[in-house]
């Protein structure tokens, strides 16, 4: 019979990269390493509560969400999501003219995202970056799959509206001002 440590080891081997990626997308490297340790420490303490199979990862995301949230609340360790969002990567190496346009679009979508409520941002990023299905998002944030589907749908519409509003009012300030982070 597998011990709890065996169970935890298997869980870690299977999911640590996904949890690490989740943390790295939201907080800096040093804090992300701490956060990953914290997530699996919680999993160890609550091993009896961890669901099986495909719901394990969403459950871990839910723990990571709270751990990252605690990091945000800590002024000393605080890292703004907008700072993280600036670390975007293009799909392919590009010519500079294309890259300028692409950067402007990425800046604009980040500006639109920043204009949304935290709850909307959260479900959007779970769908966009963690690529979770609605039932997994539901397990992560603690709601029904139907409610998660509605929240994602509404958040996408809000993001689109905010993006188009920025298009009408001009590029985001970072581009217009010619900062280093265009």
């Amino acid at each position: 019979m597998a011990t709890r440590d065996d169970q935890l080891t298997r869980m870690y081997e299977k999911h640590n990269r996904a949890i690490r990626a989740y943390c790295l997308r939201r907080i800096d490297d040093a804090d992300a390493s701490d956060a990953v340790s914290e997530v699996f420490a919680v999993a160890r303490r609550r091993i009896d509560d961890v669901p099986d199979d495909e719901m394990t990862l969403p459950w871990l995301y839910g723990v990571a969400r709270r751990v990252v949230s605690d990091h945000y609340r800590s002024d000393r360790r605080r890292t703004r999501l907008t700072g993280k969002l600036s670390s975007v990567r293009p799909l392919v190496p590009t010519q500079p003219d294309w890259e300028v346009v692409q950067r402007a679009e990425y800046d604009q979508v980040h500006a639109a995202l920043s204009a949304l409520r935290e709850k909307d941002r959260e479900v959007l990023l779970l769908a966009a970056w963690e690529e979770l299905a609605n039932d997994q998002i539901a397990a992560t944030i603690g709601c029904s799959p139907e409610a998660a589907a509605q929240r994602v749908h509404r958040a996408k519409k809000k993001l689109g509206s905010a993006f188009r509003a920025l298009s009408r009012s001009g590029p985001p300030p970072t581009v217009a001002n010619g900062s280093e982070r265009a």
């Binding site: 790295l24 670390s87 975007v88 190496p93 010519q95 500079p96 003219d97 966009a128 689109g160 900062s179």
Partner: protein, 214 residues
């Protein structure tokens, strides 16, 4: 642009698109570079403030010199200013020489010569050719070389860089640059800032690359 396209754009900005590749040497190197990224917003603000301070300071210095040229004490002061940053020549002129030398080497398409202006401690923030780790500071000779190699590929062989508004204050140089690509499109980057030491560019905050105003 419809909602789905905007969402697709958001997906493309995923800072860690391949969690399974996190243990690869390349990913580890990129994450290593990313460490200071979290401070980049603050850093950029600091750098922007510094650019403004340097330019304001130089502007004030020039006004002062123009108003008191006849006074011997200020003539001495003017000489000192020239040595420190405005006039070139001497050890103190190295910050400007390093930046100019970098662009001369770039326009000569000589990557080895370009790299002479960097050290293992050098960092570049916001270089437009920094595709794989966009927005993260580039650190060290190998990383900087790999990114500048991309730059040589798309810009320099056809059209040279020109720089303008070069100003020096102590170890800090600020300047603007421009170039055209092979399609004839003109690109401007206004507000570079670099800290130079020992003839090496130690910390370069690259200005945003934008289409030049027509």
């Amino acid at each position: 642009m419809n909602d789905d396209k905007v969402f697709q754009l958001l997906m493309e900005t995923n800072p860690v698109p391949d969690p399974d590749g996190l243990d690869s040497p390349l990913a580890l190197a990129q994450l290593e570079q990313r460490s200071p990224t979290m401070a980049t917003d603050t850093q950029s603000t600091t750098e922007r403030t510094r650019i403004k301070e340097v330019r304001d300071k130089n502007r004030r210095s020039r006004l002062l010199v123009a108003a008191t040229t006849a006074a011997l004490a200020l003539i001495v002061g003017l000489g000192t200013w020239a040595i420190l940053g405005g006039g070139g020549g001497g050890e103190a002129a190295n910050p400007r020489a390093a930046v100019e030398g970098y662009y001369e080497a770039s326009n000569s398409h000589d990557l080895n010569a370009i790299m002479e202006f960097f050290s293992e401690e050098s960092k570049i923030v916001g270089h437009p050719a920094d595709s794989p780790t966009r927005g993260t500071p580039l650190r060290g000779l190998a990383t900087i070389r790999s990114v500048l190699e991309v730059q040589l590929g798309f810009a320099v062989p056809v059209n040279p860089f020109t720089i303008s508004n070069v100003e020096v204050s102590g170890d800090t140089v600020t300047w603007d640059s421009r170039f055209s690509n092979k399609n004839g499109n003109r690109f401007c980057a206004e507000g570079h800032s670099a800290i130079v030491g020992g003839g090496k560019i130690l910390f370069w905050t690259h200005a945003a690359l934008q289409s030049c105003p027509s």
